[in-house]
Symmetry: C2
Subunit: 447 residues, 2 copies
């Protein structure tokens, strides 16, 4: 459902359009790579102020998207995700200020050695270059991604969803104002007066939601260094299958909570309820429960009562079904695919496991390696679990819902990775950086 | 030119063979991920000893490859790369001991924070998982890669070149002996007695050099986490184009030396000669020279004399040609493609540049972002160059030839990356690792 004029352009025009955007982004990335923290933070400060000052314009743009959403019969939840109001705009501005307040990752020294021949070898954090972000409807993603990329010295190419097209266009217009120095701020500050601002091409929006534009973008591996897709599994699969640029992603979150035989039952109940119920539609919500056979008989009935009270449906293996049956507690038999499903709903699959080792093996086989937790008082069991479960984030006595950039103190996140190269888990400013080796000598040559 | 029987198997057999290797590697990688440093180092100590004790068997296997090489009319340089002798075997064993002596990267704490809610968040280094290494003829690469993967807790799948097939098979046989505990060593050591050794599937060789086996391997993205190709540009392009697994690589090294207007002329000559002549056939040798216009008239003639003495051919732009012409020094006019060529030979392309900024822009446009150097006494100019040149490794007053894992103190290197995600520059043990987040709580749930 392309929204704007460009989508009717012939294919050559579209290729030229998207290529020109990427070329401008690459040029901007070279300026950003050596931009001072002051210049970047000044732009972010201007952005926070401009967002607050543009509430009316943003609400007007958002109203167009909302009208289209109602016409297209989007669900209430979808419309809610899309909706801006004064409070959400203020939250966006606050988020921008929070990222501005974080230390600049660029130039950080990661390692330093002096070799026997006197060569000094330093490994310094540098921006990746140009980042393409492909996402769906939530407008705050536009601001989060733009701000994290800017602060980490990367140029961003944003390809948002059809549903939030007008809102995103207005947001990027505001970002462009913020990038140019002294856009709305008094020139009294010496730090700002020294700056010419940052290139507007640092943040660009693909001005069409035509899939052909996306396919073109994903092949520009000479100009774009990393693609981060955010959204449903089908969007992410499309990106992975069509990209020649490295993609960092997670497809889905099939997250486990394992209740060990030495779990504190109150804590276990508390954590399972939170992980399943607090926000069931997100990737770090629990979908799968494993209970050690030694405590299943005592623990499962009380947990089932608590889950049923929250309207959670239990899909059980034979052993857990037998226990709930005995207590007359509602449940249904799980189908095999339930044990690898991301329900994103008030449903949980339940299995009884004979041992810690079996639990670890089950999780390594069936989870999506996103967020998996053990509840236990046994430090030895916890150590085995934390070392043996091969997931991006593993938890001991805490809810899987904490696997999140804000909760980690990253200010925001550009995504969560279940990949193993470059970044794993929530990605913030540091994960948007590469590094380079800088070597200083006094005329050394190799013998 | 497939060497062995498998290559005539029908395609389904080949797919099954390669898939089974990858499945065994993935299973072995789960054991390796939590193997102790002692167990890994004991296997490496056994390997060093076994290599020395297997000199005769290795030379016999190598003789088969050398006979085939002569039959196939390989060049002297190619045969030299392929040849083992007692000294080279001893060097291999020494390399194994050097890697064993390095600290174990697995489990290293990279970051640690305690959140206001009391959650402890640790970012710990863990192995990537399964690494596929695709390489050409040098047998020492087999040992370097296997040893670096083992020490970093990764399973390795090796696909070596046709030319060194028999040598590689013998080397991997020796590695398998070393992996099994107490293979040749007294059981007196308590540390070893506690260990059962490591799985033989930790290091596997694809038993055919059939390209179809390689193509199959490159699609097993569920089982293999990273591909590292080493060799000529055409091999690497083949791997990149056929892999659905992330590839870390460099295609080539078009490396620059820039002589600034404030360069010490003696140091500049010394560095250029070393970077060009010391070993012209390798990726970190200089191929391109830029000289600031302010010193070109004085410096280029003396440098040209020194290069010509070493039989280096100079391919010049108009400005540098005019200077050499004036002094009656041999040179030829460069073709446009010379300025982006990796000669791997005693040839250097020469340009005069009007400014530091132009030099930086030229390098960012024409280099392969591998190893680029500035020679200058001006610290300000050096800082601009080191920050502005967007290459894996940048040098100030040192030869580009130092861009190498051994020279960096990594013990060995599994490759050099000009990519920007995960690893850049020489890759050692740390670069063969990913990380995971390990979160410890006391029952925290999200509000």
């Amino acid at each position: 459902m392309p929204f704007c004029g460009y989508s009717h352009a012939v294919s050559t025009d579209l290729v030229q359009l998207v290529t020109a955007i990427a070329q401008r982004a690459r040029a901007a990335s070279r300026v950003l790579a050596t931009a001072s923290a002051e210049a970047k933070n000044a732009a972010l400060a201007r952005l926070a102020e401009l967002l607050l000052g543009s509430t009316d314009a943003l609400l007007a743009a958002n109203a167009k998207d909302l009208a289209a959403a109602r016409e297209n019969n989007l669900t209430g939840a979808q419309i809610d995700r899309l909706t801006l109001d004064a409070k959400r705009i203020a939250q966006m501005a606050e988020g921008v200020r929070r990222v501005a307040a974080l230390p600049d990752p660029v130039g950080e020294e990661l390692e330093r050695t002096v070799r026997p021949n006197g060569l000094e070898i330093r490994k310094l954090r540098v921006p990746i270059g140009v980042i393409g972000i492909i996402y769906e409807s939530r407008p705050n993603v536009t601001i989060d991604c733009a701000v994290l990329c800017l602060k980490s010295g990367n140029a961003a190419i944003l390809r948002g969803g059809t549903e939030s097209f007008h809102t995103n266009r207005m947001l990027v217009e505001i970002i462009h104002q913020a990038l140019s120095a002294r856009s709305t701020l008094p020139s009294s500050s010496e730090a700002w007066a020294k700056e010419d601002g940052l290139p507007a091409d640092a943040v660009q929006l693909i001005p069409t939601t035509d899939r052909a534009a996306l396919t073109t973008l994903l092949k520009l591996d000479d100009l774009i260094h990393c693609i981060i897709p955010r959204g449903g599994e089908s969007l992410i699969r499309f990106v992975v299958e069509n990209s020649t640029i490295p993609v960092i992603k997670h497809f889905k979150g099939v997250c486990f909570v394992y209740i060990d035989k030495d779990a504190d039952p109150d804590m276990a109940e508390h954590i399972v309820i939170n992980a399943k119920v607090q926000r069931p539609g997100v990737c770090n919500a629990a979908e799968q429960l494993l209970v050690h056979v030694g405590v299943a008989g005592a623990f499962l009935p009380r947990l089932a009562r608590a889950l049923l009270e929250k309207n959670v449906e239990l899909r059980c293996d034979a052993a857990s079904a037998a226990i709930l049956q005995q207590h007359g507690l509602a449940h249904r038999a799980a189908a095999p695919e339930d044990f690898t499903t991301e329900f994103l709903d008030l449903i949980i699959a339940v299995r009884v496991t004979p041992s810690l080792d079996d639990a670890i093996a089950t999780i390594n086989r069936d989870s999506s390696a996103h967020s998996d937790a053990i509840v236990t008082r046994d430090a030895g069991a916890a150590r085995c679990f934390l070392a043996g479960v091969d997931s991006a984030t593993v938890f001991w006595n805490a809810s899987t819902r904490f696997n999140d950039g804000f909760e980690f103190g990253l200010g925001a996140e550009i995504g969560i990775s279940t990949d193993r190269l470059h970044a794993r888990g929530p990605m913030g400013l540091r994960e948007l950086c590469s590094y380079k080796y800088v070597i200083t000598g006094t005329g050394q040559v190799r013998g």
